[in-house]
Amino acid sequence: MKPEQANQLKTLPPIISVKNLEKVFEDGETKTAALCDITFDIPRGQFVAVMGPSGSGKSTILHIIGLLDKQTGGSYLFDGKKVSDYSDEEIAHIRNEKLGFIFQSFNLLSRTTVLENVKLPLLYSGIKESLWDQMALKAIEQVGLSQRINYMTSKLSGGERQRVAIARALINNPQVIFADEPTGNLDSKSGQVIMEILQKLNAEKKHTIILITHETYTSELAERIIYIRDGKIESDKLIRARREANNFVK
C-alpha cells in the first residue's frame, strides 16, 4: 500500500465503534447479562482477535458487530453510522455488501459445487448474473482452489471446505471479514493454511478481520487481542511480537 493511501485510511472514522455495549438475554422472568459495558474501536484494515473462554460472550460480540443480532444497550457505529437507525432490510444489504462471514462449521450448501457455494452471496446482491462466474473464480483463486471449482463440497477435505467458505466471504470484496473459530474444526496443518490466507488477505488486500478464538496461539497471529471474560473486556492490547502463520508451530 502506498503511504498516502494509508494516511487516507487513518483519517476515516473507525469501521467499527462500540460504546458501552450491553446485551441482556431475557427468557421469561430470568435475565442474563451476556455483555456489559463493552467499548472499543476497530480501525480499518486491522486484524483483531477477540479471545476468551467459552461462555465469555465473545460470540455475542461477533453477532452484534456482525449485524446478526442487536444490542440491548449502548451504541454501535458501523462505518461511522448508527446501526440502530437502519431497517432490517438495510442491515441485510450491509451484511451482503460490506461483511463476510466464516464459520467454525463452514456452513456450505451440501449437494452443491464449490462455484455455486461461492456465488451464493451474489444472489442477494443485485449484481448482474453475467459477472458472477468471473467474480467467483477470482475469489476461489485467492484461496487456491481453482482446480476444484466443479467439485461437490461434500468431496472436499475440512481445510478445503473452509477455504471455500473464505472465498464465499470474499466475493463481495467486504470491508470486514468475521471469522468465528475458523480453525476450530480443523487439524493444525489445515488450520495453519486458513490462518495464512487470512493474514495474507489482511496484509495485501487490507480487509479488516475480526477473529473469534479461544486458542492463544491462534490469537497471536492477529495484531491486536481483545480479551473477554464474563461479558467484560479484560484486556485490549496490540501485539508486539506478531507471528506469521507460515512459521506457526504448534
Binding site: H63, G66, L68, D69, D88, E89, A92, H93, R95, N96, E97, F101, F103, N107, L109, R111, T112, L120, P121, L123, Y124, S125, E129, R168
Partner: protein
C-alpha cells in the same frame, strides 16, 4: 434477486429432495385429476343430454301421466293411466287451448319385432304422422302413415335405419311384413339414420298408428304421453298453462297439488336436466376438493419439515445478505412450484382418464358421447393448485423468513 434467480433457487431446493417432492404432490395430483374427470364427463353428459332435448324442437310440449317425478326412482308416471281419449278431445278444442297447433298421443309397446327368423329389440310405439314433424324426420324410403291409417287401426309400420339393417340386411324392407306381438305389420317406410333425439334413438324405433298400438296390441284405454306442438314459441308458457287447466277440468281436479299429469316444455326439460347434471357435477367436485385440502395440508406439513431441516441454510442465507422477503419468496415459491406441478400433472392425468372413460362409455352405452377437454376446468385447476400452494405454503415460509439468523446458524 430477480424472478428467474428466485425460481432457480426454489427448484434447487426441491431437487435436493426429489422423491419427497414427488410424493408430496400426489394429493394435489389426485385432487386436480378428479376434478378434471368430473367436469369433463359432466360437461359431455350435459351437452349430450341438452343436444338430444334440443332435437325435439322448441315449440314442443310433452304431457305425461302422473304427478311430476319427485326423483329418478319415482315410477308413478309410468304406472299412471290418467291420460285418455277424452283429454285429446278436450285439448283439441280451440276454446280450451287456443295456442295448440297439433298433437299426438303416444303408446309404448314393449317387446321385440321380428322378420322371418330375425328378431330385434326395437323400441315400438304408437304415434301419428305428427311425430315425424316433431322429430323433424321424413322416411328415406316409402311414406309415413296418415290419419286414415290411424282411424282404421291399420297394421302398418315405419322402421328406423338400425331396425331395417338388423331385420332385412341388404334386402328391401318396404312392403314386407314384420311381426309385433305375433301380429303382422306391413313396413311402409324406413327412416334415415338420425341417432338420439330427446329420449328416443330414432334408429331403433318402430312407429305404428297409436290406435293400433293402444287397442289391438296393448288392449288399454290410456296413453303413455301426449306430444303437443304450440303455434309459436312466445305463447309456449300460456299454452302449457291452458293445457293444465283443460286437463284439470277434464279430470275434475281442483287442487293443482293433486294433478295426475304433468306438462313439460322444451326449456323445462332442458333446465331440469341442466340442474341435475350441474348438481351432480358440483357434488363430485366438492368431494374432489376435499382431496385438494388434504393435499394442501400435506404440502404444509412437508414445508414445515423442510424449513426445520434447513434452519442452518436459512441462517446462512441471512448472514450472507438475504432479506426476510428473499427467504419468504424462496419457500413460498417452493410450495407453489410443488402444487402447480401437481396441478399440471393432475390435469394431464384427468384429461387422459376422461378421454378413456369417454371411449368406454361411447362403446358400452353406444351413445354419441364425445370427449371435450374442459379448458375452463384446466385453467381453474392450475389456478386452484397454485392457490393451494400459496395458502398452505405461506405460514411455513413466514416461519422460515422470521428465523433469527444466530439461532438458525447454531441449529444442529
Amino acid at each position: 434477486m430477480n424472478t428467474y434467480q428466485a425460481l432457480k433457487t426454489a427448484l434447487l431446493g426441491l431437487r435436493a429432495n426429489a422423491a419427497r417432492s414427488i410424493l408430496t404432490i400426489l394429493g394435489i395430483v389426485i385432487g386436480i385429476a378428479a376434478i378434471i374427470v368430473v367436469v369433463a364427463i359432466g360437461d359431455s353428459a350435459q351437452s349430450m343430454i341438452l343436444g338430444q332435448i334440443g332435437g325435439l324442437g322448441s315449440k314442443t310440449i310433452i304431457i305425461e301421466p302422473g304427478r311430476e317425478p319427485q326423483g329418478p326412482s319415482d315410477m308413478t308416471a309410468i304406472l299412471s293411466d290418467s291420460l285418455k281419449e277424452r283429454d285429446i278431445i278436450a285439448l283439441k278444442n280451440k276454446a280450451n287451448v287456443p295456442g295448440l297447433k297439433d298433437l299426438t298421443p303416444n303408446v309404448i309397446v314393449p317387446g321385440s319385432v321380428s322378420y322371418q327368423s330375425q328378431t330385434y329389440r326395437a323400441i315400438t310405439f304408437g304415434s301419428s304422422a305428427f311425430l315425424s314433424k316433431v322429430l323433424n324426420i321424413q322416411p328415406a324410403e316409402g311414406v309415413f302413415f296418415g290419419d286414415e291409417e290411424i282411424k282404421q287401426h291399420a297394421r302398418v309400420a315405419i322402421i328406423g335405419s338400425k331396425v331395417r339393417e338388423k331385420l332385412f340386411g341388404l334386402s328391401t324392407a318396404v312392403g314386407e311384413n314384420i311381426k309385433i306381438k305375433d301380429k303382422n305389420f306391413r313396413v311402409i317406410g324406413v327412416l334415415p339414420p338420425k341417432g338420439q333425439v330427446s329420449i328416443i334413438n330414432v334408429d331403433d324405433v318402430v312407429v305404428i298408428p297409436y290406435t293400433t298400438a293402444q287397442k289391438d296390441l296393448m288392449g288399454i284405454n290410456h296413453y303413455n304421453s301426449i306430444m303437443v306442438e304450440a303455434n309459436n314459441v312466445e305463447d309456449l308458457a300460456r299454452t302449457a298453462n291452458d293445457i293444465k287447466l283443460t286437463l284439470r277440468e277434464s279430470h275434475g281436479i281442483t287442487d293443482p297439488a293433486k294433478d295426475d299429469f304433468h306438462v313439460m316444455t322444451q326449456s323445462d326439460i332442458a333446465n331440469s336436466a341442466k340442474t341435475i347434471t350441474n348438481l351432480l357435477t358440483w357434488l363430485l367436485i366438492s368431494v374432489a376438493a376435499i382431496s385438494l385440502v388434504v393435499g394442501g395440508i400435506g404440502i404444509m406439513n412437508i414445508m414445515f419439515v423442510s424449513v426445520t431441516e434447513r434452519t442452518r441454510e436459512i441462517g446462512l442465507r441471512k448472514a450472507l445478505g438475504a432479506t426476510d422477503n428473499n427467504i419468504l419468496t424462496q419457500f413460498l415459491l417452493e410450495a407453489v412450484l410443488l402444487t402447480a406441478a401437481g396441478g399440471i400433472i393432475g390435469i394431464m392425468l384427468g384429461a387422459g382418464i376422461s378421454y378413456i372413460a369417454t371411449l368406454i362409455l361411447s362403446q358400452v352405452v353406444s351413445m354419441n358421447w364425445t370427449f371435450t377437454f374442459p379448458l375452463s376446468a384446466a385453467l381453474i385447476g392450475i389456478g386452484v393448485s397454485t392457490l393451494v400452494g400459496l395458502v398452505f405454503g405461506l405460514y411455513p415460509a413466514y416461519k422460515a423468513a422470521h428465523k433469527n439468523p444466530i439461532e438458525a446458524l447454531r441449529y444442529e
